[in-house]
């Protein structure tokens, strides 16, 4: 009797957990769609910036800008780690943090001072556990990062980079490739590795003779900071999309696991019940036989 009661209780508990993971899966799916839409809308801007840069370069603006200059042997490097604020998303945070840790060690081995900046509570608690002090932390980038928020951070980096306070900006985050594929990437955002280029590699249309106001060079000089801000923003958007995908996949797996456990427990319960009935019948028959 006790065994069946216990199994019923466990089955009930797992059913409740399944309900929760299933709901989380659905929520993550909805959020993922929204985040993906945002990321796709942002692509128009990126593509346009690349087009402008190409047209400007095509009309004689030379690509010499402090933001483009590579500084050999960097002395101070900023490492920005973008993680999520919440857990329950499988290996998402773990894989980013692993890469970030490797990078951090490498920067230190190269003799540079690393300024560690963390976004997301998961990254903060991880590095606290590792007893690595972070120079700055952000927790306000949720699943809908706003450009204003990212711009603030970007402005700070630009200022520090141009004043020579830092020589390099690295960002460790999840890069979104497709709905089925994301990978951890540590990207160097500053110095910019060349002019912004179109990713699809479309054949350029015939060059247009533009009129420039003020001059091609000065527009290009202004375009580069805008391009950097956009790239940083894209990192945050990608991270938001990838986080939701990771959560959806994890919760789906959890729901399926719960299904399996419910099945196993149901079988055990039925066996136990049947065994009990058999035992009782045997007892009744045994009792009746003893009376004869």
């Amino acid at each position: 009797m006790a065994k069946t009661r216990e199994l019923v209780g466990r089955r009930k508990a797992i059913r409740n957990i399944r309900k929760i993971t299933r709901t989380m899966e659905l929520i993550a799916t909805a959020r993922f769609k929204k985040a993906l839409d945002r990321a796709q809308e942002a692509q128009a801007y990126t593509a346009k910036i690349a087009e402008l840069a190409r047209d400007l370069a095509g009309s004689g603006a030379s690509a010499s800008h402090p933001l483009l200059e590579d500084r050999p042997r960097p002395k101070k490097v900023v490492l920005l780690v973008i993680c999520s604020n919440r857990g329950l998303c499988g290996g998402y945070n773990g894989s980013i943090l692993r890469e970030a840790n490797i990078k951090l060690r490498k920067i230190r081995e190269d003799g540079a001072i690393c300024r560690l900046e963390l976004s997301g509570k998961r990254a903060i608690s991880y590095f606290r556990f590792q007893r690595v002090d972070a120079d700055e932390t952000f927790i306000h980038f949720e699943d809908k990062p706003r450009f204003d928020q990212v711009e603030e951070v970007a402005e700070k980096y630009l200022k520090m980079f141009l004043s020579g306070e830092i020589d390099r900006v690295e960002v460790a985050s999840m890069r979104f490739i497709s709905a089925a594929r994301q990978s951890v990437a540590v990207q160097t955002l500053l110095p910019l590795g060349g002019l912004p280029q179109k990713s699809d590699g479309a054949t350029p249309t015939q060059p247009v003779e533009y009129e420039f106001a003020p001059s091609a060079q000065s527009i290009l000089d202004d375009l580069l900071p805008a391009s950097f801000k956009q790239r940083l923003f894209k990192c945050f958007l990608d991270a938001a999309v990838s986080e939701q995908i990771a959560r959806r996949v994890t919760m789906k797996a959890a729901t399926e696991n719960a299904d399996g456990i419910i099945k196993t427990i149901s079988r055990q319960y039925n066996r136990a019940r049947q065994a009990q009935i058999t035992k009782e019948i045997a007892e009744v028959i045994g009792g009746a036989a003893a009376l004869e």
Binding site: R146, F147, V208, E209, Y210, A213, A216, L223, A226
Partner: protein, 131 residues
């Protein structure tokens, strides 16, 4: 080649704000307003914080916060970090920026920040009131 209308697109890093057909567009270029009519020569220009006006059937006015403009083949593309339609502007916030007591600036960068903020607020109010 020169059509009768212009296509005006405004894109910000977050989304495409506007994609409309207009008869004319008045841009806040870095050194003053400049009008664009169908058939204009290709142009790439720098913008300041100010008012963007669309003329024609869908007459409209927006606030844009700097950025770049590209005019090519009767398409005006505006890249700006922020764009607000007249009804989205928070008038009281802009008013507050203008009315804030201007403290004696200690550094030139603080002074520049203040100048940017007031220019932005003034442009926002202008757009909101012209509605």
């Amino acid at each position: 080649m020169a059509g009768k209308t212009l296509r005006c697109m405004i894109v910000t890093p977050e989304c495409a704000v506007l994609d409309e057909v207009a008869d004319s567009v008045i841009l806040p270029l870095f050194d003053g307003d400049s009008g664009v009519l169908p058939g204009r020569e290709p142009l790439i220009g720098k913008l300041r914080s100010g008012e963007l006006r669309l003329g024609g059937t869908s007459s409209k006015s927006l606030f844009i916060d700097g950025g770049f403009v590209q005019v090519v083949r009767d398409t005006v593309t505006i890249l700006t970090p922020r764009a607000l339609l007249a009804e989205q502007i928070d008038q009281s916030a802009a008013q507050k920026v203008l009315e804030a007591p201007s403290q004696p600036s200690t550094s030139s960068s603080a002074m520049a920040d203040r100048l940017v903020a007031t220019t932005r607020a003034r442009a926002q109010l202008k757009v909101a009131r012209s509605r």
